[in-house]
Symmetry: none
Subunit: 204 residues, 2 copies
DNA sequence: TATTATACTGTACATATATTCAGTATTTTT
DNA sequence: AAAAATACTGAATATATGTACAGTATAATA
């Protein structure tokens, strides 16, 4: 980041104050009005200088297309996708699978996570996981017995307790007596671990 | 704040995401592009509806003159206290009752909320509320039958389903067959509704 | 000394953008 | 049953806005 001149600093301050007050960036004319310039080109040249020095970026041809580069990332929030637990197909992050996104601090769930998975059915109800709950999923294949995992068998995606019985046998256990354990022989069947649950979010 | 429709929510989300990504609000055309509308008037009417309902404000004659009202602003979170569900005494926000705080976007749970309550016991397990879960509590006495309420009887604080049987009789119903309904005669006993659950947060 | 950066005024114009009007259709409320 | 709200398409237009061009002047740099 290069040195900034006092006038450029005034323009940068002006942009930030305007943003805070109105919620959107100023036009060239707005900056002129605020700082007493009489030509929009005064603002323009300052903006170009600020862009060149890396303080802002300007979207060409776009009204109010100024964005201040954030060196002070205060909230560290992020948009996390919500993915529907489709019966067939893996819960990829492809756009067609994303129902919506949720803004949530990065460190909201202890180990960090990658996306929310919307739960279908009640197979884990005794673990307190109900229909339409959002499970915070961390993408990993490093799971231990007792972990709640997101597993894929062929094209079926399911949320269950993970339990490795032996080197070749894995059991996926529901938390609902109406459902049966799923026993998988890794020699004859393919089991894909998408990730594990690191938290849960429910909105009434 | 009036009710928002699902399409209006999509538009509101779109604005927030666009803002986060670019640093400035979208135009009508931008919204159309994002959401697949074919006429800028589709975005316009949604924006007017959102303005009328108080979710955004629009500066007339101003390009990208959309600002999201603070109470809906997903960015810039707040610290919310976590209160232990002590067996005796009401869950006040007094400092000695606050275990810790959690940074969380203001409108993380739809209706807004005031604090997190840490759950003790399993009396609501069939409603998917487990030990150590954090219930997002909105302070209100305006509760309907079927709501999950935080109620105080003498010095005992409890989380239960609310069910008004008649003008004088209220039942507090657990979601666990090992527990009994609590029947309260409002003429002889004091029932204090601290608030209701608007969401739940679990961290593994 | 020539060149580049800074710091402006002023005019002009293409286009980005808000916004109105005219329709159609469905759902919700009164 | 009527009215209002929701949810769009499509076309048209006034204006808000970015941006280029033509100048002037001073300070910093090579």
């Amino acid at each position: 980041m290069k040195e900034i001149t006092s006038q450029q600093q005034r323009v940068l301050d002006c942009i930030q104050i305007y943003l805070k007050k109105t919620g959107f960036p100023p036009t060239r004319a707005d900056i002129c009005k605020e700082l007493g310039f009489k030509s929009p080109n005064s603002a323009e040249t300052h903006l170009r200088a600020l862009e060149k020095k890396g303080f802002i970026s300007i979207e060409s041809g776009t009204s109010r297309g100024i964005s201040v580069k954030d060196q002070n990332n205060l909230f560290g929030g992020d948009e996390y996708p919500v993915i529907g637990l489709v019966a067939a197909g893996s819960p990829t992050l492809a756009e067609e699978n994303i129902e919506r996104t949720i803004n949530c601090p990065k460190s909201f769930f202890e180990s960090g996570f990658d996306y929310f998975l919307k739960v279908r059915g009640l197979s884990m109800k005794d673990a307190g996981i109900m229909e339409d709950d959002l499970i915070a999923v961390k993408k990993t294949t490093d799971v231990k017995n007792g972990d709640i995992v997101i597993a894929r068998l062929d094209d079926e995606v399911t949320v269950k307790f993970f339990n490795r019985k032996s080197s070749n046998i894995v059991e996926l256990e529901p938390a609902n007596e109406d459902f049966e354990n799923i026993v998988i022989n890794l020699e004859s069947e393919q089991l894909h671990i998408e990730g594990k649950s690191v938290g849960l979010l429910r909105r009434n």
